[in-house]
Symmetry: D2
Subunit: 389 residues, 4 copies
């Protein structure tokens, strides 16, 4: 795709919260591989003509960095993923130098005595990354472990109350929200790729508005929910009544382990379940499980059983199985979101970007859960962005 | 749904080619049951607000008739279908009188010595049905057995050549096309619900144009192809490359038996296969079988295996199983198409109605194979029809 | 099958605990239908030559009765089951008189102030049933709702302690065990078709021994576990290593509702899980869920995902879906067990009958969980029973 | 497993017909890897205690060689298989020397002007292999491409007639049978791992008898048929009536390409279909397809749909999906068969070895198609072999 020249000069940084996790590692090596011409651009929505028309920053200019609580080198993590079939082992060897360079830009997540201090340390790391690498803008992307929903507290509802609490040495913020706070303070747009609270708290949406920053979320739509958003409208527009829709998910790997904790799983099953009723216009019963099966590693297997009713009450059934590699599905969406959010930032958009609903299980700022509707909204928005260049 | 008053007075007839087959029988008993308030309107697309807005003739005013080569009474056929679970047996009992009346309007398919004579007899039967029942218009619907594709012949390409051939006592027309010819001669719109040649021959599209009649086709999209048209765009808009898509279909019943004949199956697998490549923009390999399994009766089971490639070449798999009742899926679409084609006729549309692509495996006059795109086109067309009332 | 004449004279009674539930109702109408020649003997293991050789009491002579906490007439329950497709509605009409007679032999479950009194009332009802109907023997079959596992208590471990506790007005027994106690006191063999504690408590196995009664259990093997017991040995004898085996079950109906209670589900998932490790000789990880999906009624859908490893570590996958009608699968096994246990009683066997492991998820007295091994054991036992006639 | 000492000294050779194909390559590298302690013995039936008891020649002593029509080095073929996930790429590097040595023992398939000459050349190659490598015995294993069934001809029915035809310069033998002829002439036992005619012709069974050689066949039971032989007895012993059983198979790779030829596929679908009716005792309808899907490579995906009837005629459904790697499933069976056939030869058995039915789709000399029955027969035979040592 040829893209308007103007944006080719933009230097865009990506700051991963969870920079040594499966998704960030896969996105990092993927961006490097594509920039080096070692891999085709399969899976990148931002390379489709309808999206590229927006005039997006090129993959070649992306610089990655981020925070993590682990110190395992990126190349080591990449090797583990390659061995389990997420991408070809040859890439790890071919990109050893580039991976080492990317690894040198990852900072250990600061854990200071107060949230105020931690937030400042995070902010400083991000600002230093931008300056050291001479970047036009940095997009912060949360791809860390899923947190439970936040508990309702007054200091999370207004920015003033939050600042006061932080000044008083309190620690009201969930970790994902602390990073969102620091990102906004550092004048960076944010992408929430997990179902964690992140920027959805009142105090933080207020801060994003105040800083005139765009942000997008939440919870990347990579597998079963993606299929649901393609299939449910079929039942709706054919006037077939869905009687029950059961969703069983199994996965191993780090994300599977996190979701084996029932408190974290609440965040996930909530964002997963929301869309179906919205798409069909009525409540649909059915169990939904996410099970940790160590054996599966980064591969996710989902099975859905849909019982529906047609003409004269006849009952019928549809089932599907989805066998996908979670990180390989998530990583390109992360790169797409970085490029699109960077472009939105460049064009001066602020607040939650509803036009990016296409990428999320729980599309903030968007009311349409159907994949085709989300796609049209995205394409229209991209066309407008391109026209405004 | 409230509908504009004007159309409530319209008396619309349905003339089935194959009036005692599974689909026609199910559509007939369904229309009767709904008109009598004995069944909800599940499965009827024409009852959704986005479609009803067109101002459609009410189900209550539909009068059915048709041709068949069999003399089995409609009530008998209905009982067989009810026993195999297509609809509740109680309906057959409750609607015994109405079924008998509908049966009395079915004529034995004429088989005269020349096609000219046969066509004239068919035309006269249709005209008599319209006059006897004081109908504003009659929609002819082909739900008879699938025929092989037509052999290329000059007299099928132009109306003048066709008339000459018929005058000379020749028999160039496939049966489905003979009925299309008679329908158009009788000034009736046509719905081709099978993949048979029907009105697609050059000579007949010419005749439809000359008579200023709308017609729609072809091959009702009821099962696996319906799912494909919902799922394939998901792979496309996510930039996932489909490597192979295998389609296995099993069904019993009359349609299954017809399709067990490889010559007839060619028509079906051709219309089934066409859309996938069009939706994805490249050729996708994969076997496609339609097998006759007597045991399954009117129930169709399809299994599809989709192998696809994502980010960095990672290979993944999706599979689905569809267990549907063929007649219960087809019958409401037939009623939808009758109401919509009647409305198009009333508003003076002519030629093939591309806006009805939503209902067909091989959508004539429509270039979009995606279900969501077809739905938007349909809804827009209905809105225009309603506005023009 | 011709059977030795001797046993044809035997009058055998069946006393159902849960006589108006789905399984008892289906077994009752099934026995009546087959005796009347209205249905073939499909699904009855006891009609296969290898089993019939034992010389079993004929279906024609079976007399049913039982306890239930509900008063809904059997014919009413049968109609509900027929409407949901468990058996043909015509049977309910044809067997109206027989169902009414069977219904008249069902007693309301006694709920007296002490367990001692309740047990005596149950015993008297069973004795009265045997005498009133002039029966040679009565087999008590527990097909009532699943209970949680019993809490460890000294008075459940020895008969003397139990009797003392009952005399003291205590209520130590789970309901299923109270019925087992009464059955043994009434000198009746017992079949435990549920995973409830029943006769597995030390005090009751002691009582069975003392009374010289045979009994069998537990938890009828009707669906997913049946398939497991056929498939797992395939992996074992082919030296393929099962890495994980996930089991997802959905069902509606009364049993589904009971199992939606996590405490009751413990009994079920325990008996379901036990066999796999035993058959393979190592522990296999994998989630197991039983979900209540009201929409499914008496139909159970299970999906299993088996990940296994072969030569040189290659990982492969097998999946299966099972769509079965729970009561239709359970009812014939109940009749089989009644006939076989009656024969064992007639031949003077006592204690738990391990040779009946073929029928159970948690085969008491049997150590082989493979279906083929259990079948051979059953066939051999039947041959011996027949030879001893 | 400890094995009787006596056999540890035996030097056994394997002569592959199709020595550079996927199965032979995988078996060769597998045997080398296991002998070198680089891979566990997963998938090897001959390592299970019930089979090892026979006193089998150790893997460490196996020497491979064979014929092929291709000259691609074994290491190259191994690399291609490793890249497509059949075994770990690291093995190809680690065993480079051993693979080169194995490759040097493969001869180009002779194609001389008469079958007599070709057969003699094949025989000489095998004899030379035995002598050069100082082997106690050589087992010839046919793992070459599937041939169509042989046409009925008098010279294939008796050895005398065959010899006469060969002397006269005729070419009556299918290729697989020519190799069987040469193997027997070279005094070697034979394993027919494909459905090709091989040694099943009257003239050749006569020759095997005359030479007092054991042989086994045919068509390795690796996937769908294996599952069938585990599942079908479940329906049988539960008295459930199978109404239809549909079998859809897809595979790529060389075997897929061969089977895309309908004439060769006849051999395969015939051996695949034979057992089901035999196991159930009645004819079961249902389509069976083997489709070539290039994309799948060496991975085979099968989907089976089983419709069955239970108590009171209730219809139920079971479906399974099998996603296996064909060569990884076949290769260990080849090694098992070599070890077992070598042991049979050592013990002086001759004629077709029915006790090896466990390994074959079309078990020659065995009448039991159930996996569990075949397993018991195998284990019993092995126990006897061990006892006779």
């Amino acid at each position: 795709m040829t893209q308007p020249n103007a944006v080719h000069d933009q230097r865009v940084g990506v700051w991963f919260v969870g920079a040594r996790g499966s998704v960030a590692t896969t996105a990092t090596i993927g961006a490097l591989a594509m920039a080096a011409g070692l891999a085709p651009r399969t899976g990148l929505v931002s390379e489709l003509p309808e999206v590229a028309v927006a005039g997006l920053p090129p993959l070649e200019g992306l610089i990655t960095g981020g925070h993590d609580i682990l110190e395992t080198p990126l190349a080591h993590r990449a090797q583990v993923l390659a061995d389990s079939g997420v991408f070809p082992p040859a890439l790890v060897t071919a990109l050893a130098d580039e991976l080492a360079a990317a690894d040198s830009r990852i900072r250990l997540a600061p854990r200071l005595s107060t949230q105020r201090e931690s937030a400042q340390a995070v902010e400083q790391d991000i600002r230093a990354f931008r300056e050291d690498n001479d970047l036009d803008r940095v997009i912060v992307v949360d791809v860390s472990n899923t947190e439970p929903p936040a508990t309702q507290r007054p200091e999370l509802d207004s920015l003033a109350a939050l600042e006061e609490a932080l000044d008083a040495g309190h620690a009201p913020l969930p970790t994902s929200s602390l990073y969102a706070y620091a990102a906004f303070r550092a004048e960076c747009p944010l992408v929430s790729f997990t179902p964690s609270p992140g920027a959805t708290l009142g105090a933080l949406t207020e801060l994003a508005k105040e800083q005139a920053l765009p942000w997008a979320g939440r919870d990347g739509k990579t597998g079963e929910t993606l299929v649901k958003s393609a299939l449910a409208p079929m039942f709706g527009t054919r006037a077939l009544k869905v009687r029950s829709w059961a969703s069983y998910n199994m996965l191993g790997g780090g994300d599977g382990q996190t979701l084996a904790d029932p408190r974290a799983a609440v965040s996930k099953t909530t964002t997963k379940g929301a869309g179906l009723d919205a798409m069909l216009g009525y409540h649909v019963e059915g169990p939904m499980h996410i099970d940790y099966v160590e054996d599966l590693g980064d591969w996710k297997t989902a099975w859905d059983n849909i019982s529906f009713e047609g003409f004269l009450g006849t009952r019928m059934t549809m089932q599907f199985t989805w066998q996908g590699c979670d990180s390989a599905l998530a990583a390109p969406l992360v790169l797409d979101l970085v490029r699109l959010t960077a472009r939105a930032h460049e064009r001066g958009e602020n607040g939650v970007v509803g036009a990016l609903a296409f990428f999320f299980k729980d599309p903030l700022g968007g009311i349409d859960h159907t994949l085709s509707g989300q796609w049209r909204t995205l394409a229209q928005w991209c066309e407008n962005l391109g026209a405004s260049a």
